[in-house]
Amino acid sequence: MEQLNTLWVNTGLYQISPGQALMLLVGMLLLYLAIVKNFEPLLLLPIGFGAILANIPGAGIAEGNGILHIFYVVGIESGAFPLIIFMGVGALTDFGPLLANPKTLLLGAAAQFGIFATLLGAIGLTAVGVFDFSLTDAAAIGIIGGADGPTSIYVASKLAPDLLGAIAVASYSYMALVPLIQPPIMRALTTEKERQIEMVQLREVSAREKIIFPIMLLVLVALLLPDAAPLLGMFAFGNLMKESGVVDRLSDTTQNALINIVTIFLGLAVGSKLMADKFLQIDTLGILLLGMVAFAIGTACGLIMAKIMNIFSKHKINPLIGSAGVSAVPMAARVSNKVGLESNPHNFLLMHAMGPNVAGVIGSAIAAGIMIQFLG
């Protein structure tokens, strides 16, 4: 009888807290979004599963010597996983459209205002007593507006590890929601005539330019903002492996086996931060709300910047590509293309939008470097 009792008190049913039960449902919601709604499944499926594992009562998978906690310490606390993912993203990025039209970098700059507006919002809401975020918390939350998962995770692991779970979930969820969030804002802030603007064909970009660009980017970062160097350094390294053409076997592995392996463990490790007692707080709601706002503001600022640039430039930019400056590669660029086609069925903006799209990756990493320098 004693052993039957031991068995019973060790079941999950006996030990489960309401919070854990709720978090199991949250984990399943993430799986549902990933599998059925196709929301960034590469990350949300492992995160969702990790969340379920982390909230199994009594198993301790996300604590102490639990395997997910080990993955977290080894991969995220060290910074290794997000940096390796960023290297892989670099190896998958084509800077061609950006090099053909460098001024679209400014669209990527403008869209970062979403980050700082959210920082201000978080601090403002703390000031009026709605939430209780520190400046480092607010900075980590703001980076959600950068629409770059690995950047968000990297910054959160440095500045606000307790909020990492919520920030990562918000980041990837909103990246997946880009096709829903952006179009209304894009239609509201542009005139039909603006949306019909056709852009000049992009010039050919030579292999040499593509090889020199990542090195040049790294040197500029090294000289001006060393705190952004880990992120942009690994990004540039991945891109150089791809563009140099002399290490194709390394580049191929980086784009496939390596990034896939790290994605799996990154996702599980992020999921481990969705334990009930840390996640089920009013702060999480604040993060989700503020993250949404960050996306909307970033989108708007990208559009507005494009309109401002059109005042001064003779080669007109279709402002719809401005919204791609939030990054969320390549979804945001595809949204620009889609909304553009609604107004002009012969106007393919995709390649034009890829410029601000990758510029947004650089811009967010720069913003992340600033946050780490001032607050890290």
């Binding site: 950006l98 090099l99 460098p102 001024k103 970098l105 400014l106 990527g108 700059a109 403008a110 970062q112 205002f113 980050i115 700082f116 507006a117 920082l119 201000l120 601090i123 403002g124 703390t126 000031a127 400046l135 607010a138 900075a139 970009v205 030579s206 040499r208 330019e209 020199i212 660009f213 040049m216 980017l217 500029l220 001006l224 903002l225 510029a359 650089i362 811009g363 720069i366 913003a367 600033i370 946050m371 001032f374 607050l375």
Partner: protein, 83 residues
């Protein structure tokens, strides 16, 4: 007092942050344009020169090696696979 301080810090960070983001990316626009111009200049002026040196430089030694041994390697491998 503390809240005001916090808000001030946030505003400071925002202004410096956005300022720096624009500064950096604007600089990157100019440096990128400069790089593209230089490379395209070198390409045009360096075109003839490049063709001349192509048979003297280091890379061509490898190329030569490649061409000469390619046939041998293939044959050797064939022979060896049979083994």
């Amino acid at each position: 007092m503390e809240k005001v301080d916090l808000i001030e810090q946030a505003l400071n960070l925002t202004s410096f942050g956005m300022g720096f983001v624009f500064l950096f990316l604007t600089l990157l626009v100019f440096v990128t344009k400069l790089m593209s111009i230089i490379i395209r200049k070198i390409k045009i002026t360096g075109h003839v020169e490049e063709q001349e040196t192509q048979h003297n430089n280091n890379k061509s030694l490898y190329d030569e090696l490649d061409e000469e041994t390619k046939f041998v390697i293939e044959q050797a491998i064939k022979m060896h696979r049979g083994a």
